[in-house]
């Protein structure tokens, strides 16, 4: 399983590196949302600083829909997924590989986006360890739940609307927890014992386990 996961992650990242969809489309999209959020809200520095973590994670959540959709679409082009089945690639490995690839892309996107948030909204960040750890587990959770739901919704003609409908409510605890733990980190009450961080860890572990167990059944069905 681990070997297949590595193989899949390497392949997906290489494809992503070549096609540059994340860089050329998803990242600009995330930036646009950051800008229009400011239009919708008050542009006084106080407001934007206060809501910066929430807007950041909302932008990430929206962007993740495109990333996970693409991760699954790679295998539906030219029926490559059937190919994987014929080659005997382990389904848990496929899942973990795709989660890894999406995770890497989202994490890099978050790094760039964070710079954008600091410049555009101007929050002060104190608790870096909490910021990084929360981001890590939140991203694992979003990637795991996302890859799984993207596979569930694949094959549907209404995939573009079905995926957000399924994914956003499921990942809402991540949005909440990541936002809150970042608020703590930004407001210098940061500690690694933050309950929100614990919630993020629980979520990511649960969804990784569910995916590793059930991904095969979704593919086989």
């Amino acid at each position: 399983m681990w070997r297949d996961a590595l193989l899949m992650a390497g392949k997906d990242l290489r494809i992503e590196f070549r096609s540059k969809v994340t860089l050329n489309q998803i990242l600009p999209f995330a930036f646009v949302t950051l800008i229009v959020f400011a239009f919708a809200l008050d542009t006084s520095p106080g407001t934007l600083q206060k809501v910066a973590p929430g807007l950041f994670w909302l932008a990430v959540l929206f962007s993740s829909i495109f990333s996970v959709d693409r991760a699954v679409a790679i295998e539906t082009n030219d029926n490559a997924g059937d190919g994987l089945a014929v080659y005997g690639v382990d389904s848990g490995g496929i899942f973990l590989g795709k989660v890894t690839s999406v995770f890497v892309q989202l994490f890099l996107l978050e790094a760039v986006l964070l710079v954008g948030v600091v410049i555009l909204y101007g929050p002060a960040i104190d608790g870096w360890p909490l910021v990084l750890l929360s981001a890590f587990f939140a991203t694992v959770g979003i990637s795991a739940a996302g890859v799984m739901y993207s596979q569930l919704a694949s094959g549907s003609r209404a995939k573009q609307t079905l995926l957000p409908l399924l994914l956003i409510p499921v990942t809402s605890p991540v949005l909440l927890a990541a936002t809150k733990s970042w608020q703590d980190a930004f407001s210098s009450t940061a500690s690694l014992g933050d309950p929100w961080l614990r919630l993020l860890i629980v979520f990511s572990v649960v969804y990784l386990a569910l995916g590793a167990v059930f991904y095969g059944s979704i593919l086989e069905a």
Partner: protein, 262 residues
């Protein structure tokens, strides 16, 4: 096409639920006294918590049935149909929970909606199972649909405690206790307690009746599919070498696909 016993049980449950609901309404609206603190508003307590209980019960049944389908040793199309039926009834009751909660909240706290843990969780639950029903409408073979929706149904249920916990923290970490809790534990008059119990029982019966009916409809739809399938199978078997049996393009396939959306 349906067993006599199933039919009569369903009818009996239907009649009992009608009587029980009528009794609940009569007791709730006229016989019980108004509350000292809440006044007339207390009458909503005979419907709101029972309806919410049924919603959770329905999703519980959906999860159990989904698990039974996913587990290979107990795998049977019936579990899938049961899960779907229960989820649909559950969505109806969740909607009612939200509506009655809102109607209660307006005079009690002056707002239609409050970001209380229970309310927020219920709202997300509503959306999660709407998604479940939407996923079921995606054209697929019955096994495919069963596996996919069973997984989605199970995940939605697993998600409930996570959502609830996160919302509880969200509220408690930043602003005191929830609003609903104090109003849920008034000193209950004997007659009122009885009526509340009656409410729980009667709506559970209503759920049972609806579930049985919805499940039967799902069974009928499945049967119609099976019969159509047999007919096509017959045609294919008796006319070998027949032209225009194009698997991908056959208009028959399109037609049947439409029926497969239970």
């Amino acid at each position: 096409m349906e067993s006599k016993r199933y039919k009569w049980t369903r009818r009996a449950i239907g009649i009992v639920s009608l009587l029980l609901v009528a009794a609940t309404v009569i007791f709730g609206l006229w016989i019980t006294p108004p509350d000292v603190v809440q006044g007339q508003l207390v009458r909503l307590i005979y419907v709101h918590p029972p309806v919410a209980w049924v919603a959770y019960l329905a999703y519980g049944i959906t999860s159990i049935a989904s698990t039974l389908y996913l587990w290979k040793r107990t795998r049977n199309m019936k579990w899938d149909l049961l899960a779907a039926s229960s989820a649909e009834v559950g969505v109806i009751f969740t909607a009612l929970t939200l509506v009655t909660g809102s109607i209660w909240g307006r005079p009690a706290w002056g707002v239609w909606w409050t970001w209380d843990a229970r309310l927020t969780t219920t709202a997300l639950l509503f959306v999660l199972y709407l998604g479940y029903l939407a996923l079921r409408r995606v054209p697929a073979t019955s096994h495919q649909r069963a596996v996919r929706s069973a997984i989605a149904g199970l995940i939605a249920f697993v998600d409930v405690p996570i959502v609830h916990q996160s919302v509880v923290w969200w509220r408690t970490l930043h602003q005191g206790a929830t609003v609903l809790n104090p109003s849920l534990s008034p000193k209950i008059h004997g007659e009122m307690a009885m009526t509340l119990l009656l409410g729980f029982i009667s709506f559970t019966f209503v759920y049972a009746w609806m579930l049985m009916h919805r499940y039967q409809i799902a069974g009928f739809e499945q049967k119609i599919l099976d019969i159509e399938l047999d007919q096509i199978l017959e045609e294919r078997l008796h006319e070998p070498g027949m032209e225009s049996m194009q698997v991908e393009l056959s208009p028959d396939v399109e037609q049947i696909d439409r029926h497969s959306k239970v």
